[in-house]
Every structure is written in C-alpha cells, then in structure tokens.
Amino acid sequence: MKTASGKKARMSSGKKKSWKVLLRHYWPLYIMLIPCVVYYAVICYVPMAGNVLAFKDYSFRKGIWGSDWVGLKYFKTFFHSYDCWRLIRNTFAIGFIKTILEFPFALILALMLNEIRNMKFKKISQTITYLPHFLSTVIVVTMLQRVLAPNIGILNQIIKIFGGEGSTYYLMESNYFYRILFLMDIWRGIGWGSIIYLSAISGVDPELYEAAELDGCGKLKKMWHITIPGIQGTVGLLFIMGIGGIFSSGYDQIWLLRTPGNMALADTLDTYVVRIGLQGGQFGYASAIGLIQGIVGLVMVVVCNTISKKMTEVSLW
C-alpha cells in the first residue's frame, strides 16, 4: 500500500515537474496562446450565459440576471405558433444545402488544384477563386441582383441573344431560390474553403506517390488511393464541425436575397429571430429560438462525431 502510494506520489510529482519543465521551456508559446484563450472565453463562452434570457422576461432595468423567470413560455409559444414548422423546414433546407451539398466542392477544387503542374496557372487560379471570399455579402447580393435582373440583367440578355424571352425575374420566383443560394455560396466560398484541404494535401508523404507511380498508378488512382485517404482526417473533422450549422441558415445573405416572391422559402429561423428580437424587442423569445438552434447543432455534432468515431476513427474528441 505504501509502495503504491509512494509510486503514485512520485508519478504525480513527476507529472508536475514535467508541466514546470514544459512551461519553462515553452513559456513564450504559452503566452502566445493567451490571446486565443481570451478570445474564445470573451467572445464565445461568456456570452453563452446570455442564453438564460430564453427563460426570462427581459427587463431593460433589471438586466439579464435580475429579470423575472418565465420558464418554458417562449418555447411553448414558438412550437404552438402557426409558422413554426415552416420556419424549421426552411431553416433545415438551407442548412442542408450549406453544410452537406456545398461541402464536397472545396475538396474537389483542392484536388484539382493539386494536380496542376504549371505553378503560374495554379497561383492565378487560386487567387481568382479566393477573391470572392473577401467581398461583403451586400456587394455580392447587389451584383447578383444586377446579373439576374429581368430584361436588363446579363443572364437575361444572354438568353435573349440565344432567342429566349429573357424576362425571367429569378429573384422573385421561389423555384430558383435554392439554386441561386447554392451557386452564390459556391462561387464565394469554394476557393477559401479549399485552402485547408490544399494544406492537408501538402502533408501527404510524397514517397507514397512515388511508390504508387512505380506500381503503375495513374493520376486518378493516386488521388483515390493516396490523396483522399491521406486527408480523410481533415475532411472528417471539417464535416463534423460544419454539421453543427445544419439548423442555421445564416442571416445577412438570406435577408438580402429575400423578396416577396421567394419568401415562402427564405423565411428562416435566423431572419425570424432578427424580426422578433431586434425589430420587435422580444429578446427572450428570440433567445429561446437561438437556443433551440444551438442545441440542435450541438446534438448533430455529438451524433456525427460518435458515428464517425465508430466507423472511420476520425473524431473531434
């Protein structure tokens, strides 16, 4: 017993020592870590406490903590509201497009860029695909409105040249809404999203490619049997992290693309929260809906992580 506890004490002391050693050797790195820790604490974790508003009747004077409790009132109101299921359906649909359908495109672009041997062309291609990421949503949507405008928009002008009527008002027809959203996202985000995959690809051991070449593998086979398995972990992690957003449509893009013609599809929980929260001043109700979205996202991440861990051994934790 004594021996055991003595060993435990030594181990513990050794552990402490190792932390001290680590700190002494790498203290500049730990100091550099502080801004990240502070950032996440201040920007991400502290505001989470505000979720308590979902259960309170918010009073300007009493503040978040002093306001009266209302229990699950807002949740009941939401689930009994006429629009509830339509909003949920619309949010899921857009979340699905953004997290699932759009997901592979950045990966495909990274794989294609990786195969380009002309470095000048590769750099130009990368720059061109990255640039849209830096444009604000307002600018992109304004450009889109011009491009898709009826009669005078570029798209309709081209259709006219080829003998079509060229008068379609794409943004006012709900059947085009998802397609517009999807293409806008791809154009804007594909280049930026491919950076992390390109970085993962650069970490794949070149000897594997050489060995594969000796075995007579072509480009496609190398991509399929070496590159993709080599970056499987990164792909899996990004997918699991992204799946948390499946119950979220984002606000600014949807708000700007929303027209009376497509509002049947473009009315989502995110725009609803802004309307009732900031425009209507119902902060508690808006927080309750935001909390529902957050919980669904968390559940999705946990479920996907568990499944992924069992099936592919890739997981966040």
């Binding site: 500049p28 100091i31 550099m32 502080i34 801004p35 502070v38 950032y39 201040v42 920007i43 918010y58 009073s59 300007f60 004077r61 009493k62 503040g63 109101t77 509201s81 006429y82 629009d83 304004t142 409105q145 405008a149 009826p150 009669n151 008068s167 008002y169 943004l171 006012m172 027809e173 027209t259 009376p260 013609g261 509002m263 049947a264 609803y272 802004v274 309307r275 009732i276 900031l278 425009q279 209507g280 001043g281 119902q282 902060f283 109700y285």
Partner: protein, 597 residues
Amino acid sequence: MKAKQWKRMLAIGLSAVMTLSILTGCGEKESGNSGNADAAGETAKQSTEQNEEAEQTESDKPDTWIADRTIVMQVYVDDIGYDMPDNVNDTLVMQELTRRTGIKIDVRYTPGDSDSMVMAAQLASGNIPDMIVGYLNDSTRKEFPIISKAAREGLFADLSEMMKNTKVYSKYYEDGYLPKDTYNNIVFRDDFGGAVYFLHLQIQEEDRSAIWDPNESLLGGMYIQKRIVDDLGIDPTSIRTQDQLYDLLVRIKEAGYTDDNGNEVWPMGPRYWGGNAESQELLAKNDNWGVSDDYNITEDGKVLHEAETDYVYKKIAFYKKLLDENLVNTEFFTMDATRTEEVSKSKNSAIIANVHSYVDVIYGNEDWLPLGPLEDIDDFNGSYYKGKNGYGFAAISSEAENPEEILAFLDYLSTYEGQLLIYYGIEGVTYDMVDGYPVLKDEVKEKIEAGDKEYQRDVVGARFGGDGLLALEFLVTNRNNIDNFGESRPGIGATATFDRAVELATEYPREMKLLEGLNAMAYLNTEELAEVKANLELLNYDEMLVQAIFEKNDAEVTKIVENFRSQLKAAGVEEFEAHLEEVYAEDPSAINFIPHN
C-alpha cells in the same frame, strides 16, 4: 541568441497587445463626432471647464445661461447621423448657443440595419447617454412599444414637474395644444401614472394642416413626363381611376417612347426612393380598402383586414394585368433606390409611381407633371389631414445628471430666439432683420444657389434653404415659421432653387379633407392583446400580395391568399377586430377608418 530573444520579446509583446485589444472590446466604447473622449477624460475636461467657469463672475453670464456642460445625445435618426459636421461645437450656431447657454453637445450615431434595431439593442443593454432622440410620427410607429417599455422600466427621467416651469414645453399642459394622440398616447399616458418620459418634437404652434399652402406643401404622388403629356394631348389631372390609368399606360406602351439612353421606356416605373412591397397601394387606389394599416370597417360596422375581403383578389388581378402586358416595370416592387433614381433621371419611366415636388428630379427642370391623383375607395382624390402632429421624440436618461438642465436646453432651442438661431444662424453674419423678419444675406444666398452644403452645415451649422444641420432643428417644437419668420420654410424663398416646386403646388392644388383618428395598429398596444400583437406583427400583407401578384398559377394564388387568411386567424385577428369595433363604436374619430363595403 540575441535574435532569438528579440523574437521572443516581439511575440510576447504582440500577444499582450492582442489580449488587451480583446479585453478592451469588453469595456464601454465612447464614440462621438466631437472628440471621442473617454469618460474619464471627458469628466476631467468638464471639471476643468467648471473651474474656469467658477472664475467667471456671474455677471458675465447671459440671462439664458443654463450650465457649463456637454450634453451627450444618442440619435437614432439616420438623416442626422450621416450628415454631421466634424465638430458640431465649432459651428457658428453652436458657438453662439454655447455662449448663450453654456451647453455643448456631443451627438452620437451608431449605423446599423435600421435605426429602430440599433435603438432596441442599445436600450436592451441599458447603455444610453444623457438623452436619446429618434423618429416618432405618432404612437403607432414601431419604435414606440420599445421606448414605452424602457420608460415603464425606469430608463428615462420623469419630466412632469420640470416641464411645468419651462417656457415652451409648459404649453404641452394646455388644453388642445397637443394632438390627441400625442397627449393621450405619448406624453401623458395613463400607464405612466402621471409621469412624463417623452417630449414629442416638432409640434406646430398653430394648426395649419387644413390649408393647402403652395409654399409649404409637398406635392407628392405620380409624376408623368411632360413630353408624353404633350404628345398624347392628355390632361394629367383627368386620370382618376385605375381603368383610366390602365388606358393611359396602354397608350404610352403603344407609342413606343425611348429614354435618354435610347431604351424603350416602361409606362409605369417604381417609386423614386426604391421599390418596396408597400408600393402595392400606389396604383390600386380604387381597390385600397384597408385604409388604416390594412384594416377598415364595413358600412354595417364590421371591422376586417383587407385580406379577408375580395379587394385582395381585385388588387392582385389589377397588378397581374399590368405586369402581363409589360405596362409596369417588372422590378416595380423590388428595385433598389440607386436604380430607381437612375431610371427616373434617365426618363426610363414614363410615369414615376411616387415622388414629390422637393426632389431635384422634379424641381430641377420642367420635364415632369403631377398625374392624377387617383381616387380612393371614397371617390376622393385629394389629401387627408388630421391636424397637428409631431415627428420626433427626445427622452432624458434617468441616470443623467441634472436632467432639468437638459430640459432647459431643449426648451431654449424651441423659443423664438433659439429657433431663429437654428434656422438662420447669426444676425449680421448670415442674415439681417428686415421688417421684423430674418432675411438671408446675399453672400449666403449665393452659397445656397451654388449648393455649398458644407458651408451651411459645417461652417454656419444652421438649417436654411432646405439644407444644413439637422441635429438641432430636429429638437425643435412649437414651430410657427410663418408667424415667426414670415415664411413656412426658412430661407427657401431666398433663392430660386425651389421655385418650380412652389409653382407646381400652386398649379396643382389638392383638396383637403379631415380624417381624424389613429391607424388601427395603435390599438393593439394593450396588455390583453400582447400575444395577438406579437403574432400579427410577424405577418406582412404587402409581401403576401406581391408574392401572389408574381405567382403564375391561379390555384397557387388562391392558396397564398387563403394561407394568409389562416395565418391571420391563427394570430388572433378576430380578437383584435372585435376590440377595434368596440373602440370605433365608442368614438368614431378614434380610428381613421373610411366606412365602405
């Protein structure tokens, strides 16, 4: 080794700066157009100024002296926020105002998606300075429930006792001085228990709303290109019904006019300030049954939402016909303001659906004439008036030091001396008194003619000639420009700039008709209807109409309308309608309904 140490030091320094930057964001951010001083600095500055002031003898101070302080005001008015001088206290008007009262101002504006959203967020955070200022036409405005909640929860100072001792605001207690809505629903609300939290601004001293004054009135509505009127040989005032409008649009279309760029014109273009779903009311005037926030009353006393009547289908059919025959611009409801200005200026629209005579595209040339107006459901095509009204509010924070000084300052701005300063600047510098009225100096008139807005706003800081500094003018009440200054719009008559606007208002006068009462939605602000209000406010009838107008399948149109009717019912519209029926039965002048079947 040395290089390594330097790198380490640099990394640590950067980390410290980044951490501090993040933490700095947690503190309160002071941002103003006049110095951006932090709170401590500001207090120290004020303290120094107070000490200096203490050294002055009492006799140095004019009778109008209030206090040596800076009043910090947060404005939720984009027209003020985007048009402030670099330092408002350096303008001639503010320097004179400071000399007279001792007060300086620090005007703060936070841009956002909308002023009302910014206001809601700032009130929710409890972070308001000495006073706040915002738009408020009447108690039906969407901002009102938010500021009213803030008032009930004690965010604003009770001004009731202080007001009684003021020169101008004491008038608010006089019988009949304030409009009914201002008195009952904004300033002296029953649920405030005798307290006064809001100053409704811009109230007129005399009610002249029943008089069509060409010098004062904006001639709004549809405008048609004069060349088209001449070419077709029509009398634009003869277009009074939707059918007549349709026939005119067909004639314009058939004539094949082109715009300044050689493109075919659209017979009907969007409103000048950008298309929106509310534009549905502009052309379907004869079918616009829901005159009061989409509600109205039948001749047998039944209150309904327009969506519950057949008028909804009439409107949809009318707009569908116009769109199908390419008589109205396809983007009539959605075109952004930049492009609507462009299509108006390039004359791509034969008719602008809505603009007024004080917009440069109209007063800057003689190319446009007023069209119609169309008749409403009551076969009336003039303008309704409802008496006095205001369009802004100010509230003083309950945590502001010496709120009576702030109120005294606001009161001074609304006195004759205050208004003269705000509207005309400094006597002998920007204007001279002639026969008891201010007249702008020739050099000032030249500046106005030359469009030198910076001179008016940044140098003088007054509001004449239809331009200049709005921040102070917005805070005025008890306006009576005709009696005080001999002209309804200060400085407008000094130049020929707006002659065309006055000429149009003279040539095309509008018949005036009294329509008392508030919009229906004002009566939704009761405790009992809180849930109904929350649900109804999420429904947008105008957007539903536009959605149905653009739907090609008739069965789908019916589905859209029926779905909206179901949403109204689920939201509790019947409860609200019953409440409106009770209110109207008790006092028909309470709601601006026009009974019609």
